[in-house]
């Protein structure tokens, strides 16, 4: 990476870093794991920065691949039951901690009940606002699969006790 590329890389991260970290959090359902995924993603991006046309699209795809790889690795170990851990309210980076600290554990726990593919589709479709076509392209599935998986995933989230209540009460906001 020469100096000009380093600059461009830094401004890309300044612009998209928060979004990428948030996507990673939703994809992994774990704040700490998300930072690892985020770092690994940026490392891969930096490694071929000058050849990547659309860094954001590249990151989405790579992030999904990393999360899947990590899950495969984790499946070989006994599961760690720590659904509600991973948030430190004293973290100086926290912006709107109150809303987030209440919401995050239930949301991440609910997302955690989905398969990785369902989660990726929900996050890309509704959090990252990608079109069905883009999601299909990124994940290498058909548009029909994106549609049916998304609706099944949303229905499943509806059934989650914690999230079902939140979805019901959110109308008042």
């Amino acid at each position: 990476m020469d100096k000009k590329q380093a600059r461009a890389f830094e401004s890309f991260v300044a612009e998209s870093g928060d979004l990428l970290l948030r996507i990673a959090t939703l994809l992994t359902c774990d704040v700490h794991l998300a930072e690892d995924v985020y770092q690994e993603t940026l490392q891969r991006l930096a490694g071929r920065w000058s050849r990547v046309d659309n860094p954001r699209a590249f990151c989405r795809r790579v992030m999904h691949n990393i999360v899947i790889d990590q899950q495969r690795a984790r499946q070989r170990r006994p599961p760690e039951l720590e659904l509600f851990a991973g948030y430190d309210s004293r973290d100086p980076r926290a912006g709107d901690p109150l809303a987030a600290v209440e919401l995050r554990p239930s949301l991440l726990a609910a997302l955690g009940t989905l398969s990785q593919q369902q989660r990726a589709i929900v996050v890309l479709r509704y959090f990252d606002d990608r079109s069905e076509g883009e999601v299909a392209d990124l994940l290498g599935v058909s548009i029909g699969t994106v549609k049916s998986t998304a609706s099944r995933a949303v229905a499943r989230l509806r059934e989650q006790p914690g999230l079902g209540a939140l979805l019901a009460t959110s109308d008042s906001h």
């Binding site: 991260v13 987030a100 919401l103 906001h173």
Partner: protein, 336 residues
């Protein structure tokens, strides 16, 4: 009013993560590592040159005629009368002092250095050129890594370097160009491999970018090549006194070099600072040599800050340095 589950879900996901911000030290770490790798391509990508040393020799003879002639005209209108600058005199003194040093005995070199603020141990096997690194600061229980198999020239290859200044200069220039070609080749190969992993779509991007990769390479002059290659070779603790001595002569004959004989490195050790601005790479590279010409104490590169213009943000200055705290030799492989 949000009506669908999808809208509510969107709202929840944003609210539940809205306080998360990407830590900037991750970016800084990655950028610094990439910058360092970029600069080190020349220093450590030398595995190929040993095998092709014969070819380099031929190339050196072929291009030898133009090098020194072009240099004397550029260094400034002194109709043939040789006038040594203060910098050249200092470098000649270093050359003489270097010739009087001795080569330590042993097969293994252990260097402890600070790469920026990070302490690391590098072990070089001078017989096969393997480079091992240990980075105690990189995290708990990080194992030693074979950083670069046959990454450095072996003692036998170094012994085959020319030790007269003009021949060494042409050799170094040819070697640098060959390393660049090799690095480009490797980069493309890695890219192809990565793209098989990350998806087919990158393939098209690669094809369209391939031409620009080659085209975008900065165009170094022979003097740029000569300086950076000589500086990098000087850093290698395994070179002989005769080669060290010849390297200072090559530096003395390279235009644009600045020498400060009363410098100190970042640890406050007295040193002779030899620096040059590389107009292709836009940075100043500096070598801090021990006053007795026995070893390099520190290497650093400084990229100047540039002001904001055309609506683009300005760039802050970058300084990368490697400070060599100790260099020890041994007959058996040292521990970290």
């Amino acid at each position: 009013m949000p009506a669908t589950d999808e809208d509510l879900l969107r709202d929840l996901m944003h609210r539940a993560t809205g306080d998360l911000h990407a830590p900037s030290e991750i970016t800084t770490g990655i950028v610094t590592a990439s910058r360092r790798r970029y600069r080190r391509t020349r220093a450590l990508g030398v595995g190929v040159t040993g095998a092709a040393a014969a070819a380099v020799g031929v190339a050196a003879v072929a291009s030898g005629a133009t090098g020194p002639a072009g240099r004397s005209t550029r260094s400034g209108g002194s109709d043939g009368a040789i006038e040594l600058t203060a910098a050249q005199r200092t470098l000649n003194h270093l050359s003489a002092r270097a010739a009087a040093t001795t080569t330590p005995a042993g097969r293994w070199v252990k260097m402890i250095d600070l790469a920026g603020a990070q302490r690391k141990t590098t072990i070089i096997d001078t017989r096969n050129g393997d480079v091992w690194t240990y980075q105690p600061d990189a995290g708990k229980g990080v194992p030693p890594v074979l950083f670069d198999k046959a990454g450095m020239p072996t003692a036998a290859q170094l012994a085959a370097y020319p030790t007269t200044a003009p021949a060494l200069r042409t050799f170094l220039i040819a070697q640098a160009k060959q390393q660049r070609a090799y690095a480009e080749h490797e980069m493309l190969a890695q890219l192809r491999q990565a793209e098989r992993k990350d998806g087919k779509r990158l393939r098209a991007a690669l094809e369209s970018k391939k031409a620009t990769i080659i085209k975008d390479q900065p165009t170094e002059t022979s003097d740029d090549w000569a300086f950076s290659q000589a500086a990098m070779t000087l850093w290698n603790p395994a070179i002989s006194p005769a080669l060290r001595s010849a390297l200072f002569k090559v530096l003395a004959a390279t235009p644009g070099i600045k020498v400060n004989s009363h410098a100190t490195d970042s640890r406050g050790r007295s040193a002779v600072e030899i620096s040059r601005y590389d107009s292709a790479a836009h940075y100043t590279e500096a070598v801090f040599e021990a006053p007795d010409a026995s070893r390099v104490l520190e290497t650093s590169s400084l990229e100047p800050a540039t002001p904001a213009q055309n609506g683009l943000p300005g760039e802050k200055a970058y300084q990368l340095s490697d400070t060599y705290l100790s260099i020890t030799w041994s007959a058996t492989r040292p521990s970290a």
